[in-house]
């Protein structure tokens, strides 16, 4: 905290008021309603609702479709994090290596970050369409790829679509992390260890840990929430709900099924998952990384 500050006065509230006001009306009020929805059930004609304790939650746990979405979300986040993290790191290390053209490479690899997930999904759609999709035909030749029917193939489809633009984000952050490592550390390690491969894993990579864990959280959040636009423009859950994320399922139940109680309960479950991941990050992982 600052040593020199202004004394508390009415003016501090003038500075806080705009943001607090917006957060209270457009964030806290809806969150309170989410909790109200989650613990009530509307009657079939929409005339009233009654308090039902945890019934909505019990219904979710009884619903096999919920576990299918849960399983998919976990697998999806894990694979997207792994793929985009490792390709992003590989590219960042190479870009950090080269003498000439560093900034050109940076520019040429950074722009997919700006594309909306929904746009990426529509593009992926063209490459995986049965009619003229190049990747569809390539994979079909190789092993009879058919995402309309095979769960495995539909996973491949949404994983490729979901990973593509996120590689950029990982690349940017890893490159910044690499450039932040002091030259003297690298020079000293070059004397101690001649093998550049070993040097990377024993010296450089541990120094990148803060970036890595930050990116893990960014990638998981991306796979949980931002991929809505991708799923909605590619498989729409095909073959039969196996490629629905938790967010996608909650939206469909609330919007198509008009089941606000279930959508509310599913939202609260997701809030809990996000909370657990965050606490895990702060408590468990942050204690184990080396900061330089």
């Amino acid at each position: 905290m600052k040593k020199v500050q202004f004394k508390s006065s009415y003016s501090q509230y003038l500075f806080l008021a705009p943001q607090l006001g917006i957060l209270l009306i457009f964030l806290y009020w809806p969150i309170i309603q989410t909790f109200r929805d989650a613990f009530t059930m509307q009657d079939a004609f929409g005339f009233g609702s009654k308090f039902v304790w945890f019934d909505n939650f019990l219904f979710i746990f009884d619903d096999p479709a919920y576990f299918i979405a849960f399983k998919f979300t976990i697998i999806y986040s894990f694979i997207i994090t792994l793929i985009t993290g490792s390709i992003g790191l590989l590219l960042a290390v190479q870009a950090n290596n080269v003498m000439h053209g560093k900034s050109t490479y940076k520019t040429l690899l950074i722009w997919p970050y700006a594309i909306a997930p929904a746009v990426v999904g529509v593009m992926a759609n063209y490459f995986f369409s049965e009619r003229f999709g190049l990747l569809y035909h390539l994979f079909h030749e190789l092993w009879g790829f058919n995402w309309y029917e095979s769960v495995f193939d539909s996973y491949i489809y949404v994983i490729i679509a979901g990973s593509w633009k996120q590689i950029s984000a990982n690349f940017i952050f890893f490159l910044a992390g690499l450039q932040a490592i002091q030259k003297s550390v690298i020079e000293a390690s070059m004397i101690d260890c001649k093998n550049s491969f070993r040097r990377f894993w024993t010296i450089t990579f541990p120094l990148l840990m803060p970036t890595t864990f930050f990116l893990i959280i960014i990638n998981i959040t991306y796979a949980f929430f931002d991929t809505f636009g991708i799923i909605d423009t590619t498989t729409i859950g095909a073959p039969s709900g196996e490629t629905r994320t938790l967010v996608y399922k909650a939206y469909m139940d609330g919007f198509r099924g008009l089941d606000l109680g279930s959508a509310g309960a599913q939202s609260i479950m997701m809030m809990l998952i996000v909370l657990v991941i965050t606490i895990f990050q702060f408590r468990y992982i942050e204690g184990k990384i080396h900061y330089n």
Binding site: V98, V119, V122, F132
Partner: protein, 273 residues
């Protein structure tokens, strides 16, 4: 010699990475300059055709058909209003809130801090229906206000500004006080000029964030007059080359902004010197 080999290897890997990024977009672009019958017969194209002007002008200006009543041009206008609104509203409110948190000795500072920052854990997707019903109660469905404000209810920029203010030396405030600056003058004349890079970075970040919104505009607009470009992807009908052209145009504004203002963006987000 080994230096040469390893660096050639690096260039090769980077080149492959760039191809993976560029080729899909290029193919959609090349295909968008052909005729539909060409695409239907021969699939996606890698070489340019000669229907560029015809296809793009038709998508931009044609009314009735591709979308029912709205032209793509109007949708770009809506997206621009929405993205700019989100950027300005969220950056201005965040700048001010972070200022109060860092530069005032507030009574319930910790409580306020948590009230503001816990919101980062609850993205709009988790409260989408209740947010919609709040908007309906306030009669804000089908309005620019309704498109902008719930997206701007975000404390991410506040977090960045707070981190930045904390690195500003205490001497700045001391000398400002000696010059007789009050809290407002210090904020406007000293702190904001100092945060310029950070402000530009956050404006870019929030602009792209606002422009790329898909689910919320889909829900909060029922009138075509408020459709945005990205949600329009869900609504488009018409021939395949016109869709290609619309997809291509939809990604131009955020990509352009990121490339042109790249320096600010990276400096601000990573707080480089």
């Amino acid at each position: 010699m080994t230096r040469f080999i390893t660096s050639s290897f690096s260039h090769l890997i980077l080149l492959i990475g760039i191809l993976i990024m560029v080729v899909p977009v290029w193919m959609i672009f090349a295909s968008s300059t052909h005729t539909s019958s060409m695409i239907n017969m021969n699939g996606l194209q890698i070489l340019l055709g000669d229907s560029f002007y015809e296809n793009y002008l038709r998508v931009l200006l044609y009314q009735g058909g591709f979308f029912k009543e709205i032209t793509a041009l109007k949708m770009f206008f809506n997206s621009f209003i929405m993205a700019t609104g989100v950027a300005i509203l969220s950056v201005v409110t965040s700048l001010m809130a972070a200022y109060a948190l860092v530069y005032y000795r507030i009574k319930y500072a910790t409580l306020l801090f948590w009230i503001i920052f816990i919101t980062i854990l609850v993205p709009l997707e988790l409260r989408i229906f209740p947010t919609y019903s709040v908007m309906a109660e306030l009669n804000l469905v089908n309005s620019y206000f309704g498109l902008i404000v719930p997206i701007s209810a975000s404390a991410i920029a506040t977090l960045f500004f707070r981190q930045f203010y904390k690195t500003v030396p205490d001497e700045l405030l001391e000398s400002a006080k000696l010059d007789g600056a009050n809290t407002w003058r210090f904020f406007v004349d000293f702190l904001i000029p100092l945060s310029k890079t950070m402000i530009v970075a956050m404006l870019i970040f929030m602009f792209v964030f606002g422009y790329n919104q898909y689910l919320w505009p889909l829900l909060v607009t029922t009138s075509e007059q408020y459709w945005t470009v990205v949600m329009g992807l869900k609504m488009m009908s018409g021939s395949i080359v016109h869709r290609f052209a619309f997809v291509m145009m939809s990604m131009v504004p955020p990509i352009l902004i990121i490339i042109v203002l790249q320096k600010y963006f990276i400096k601000g987000v990573f707080q480089d010197k």
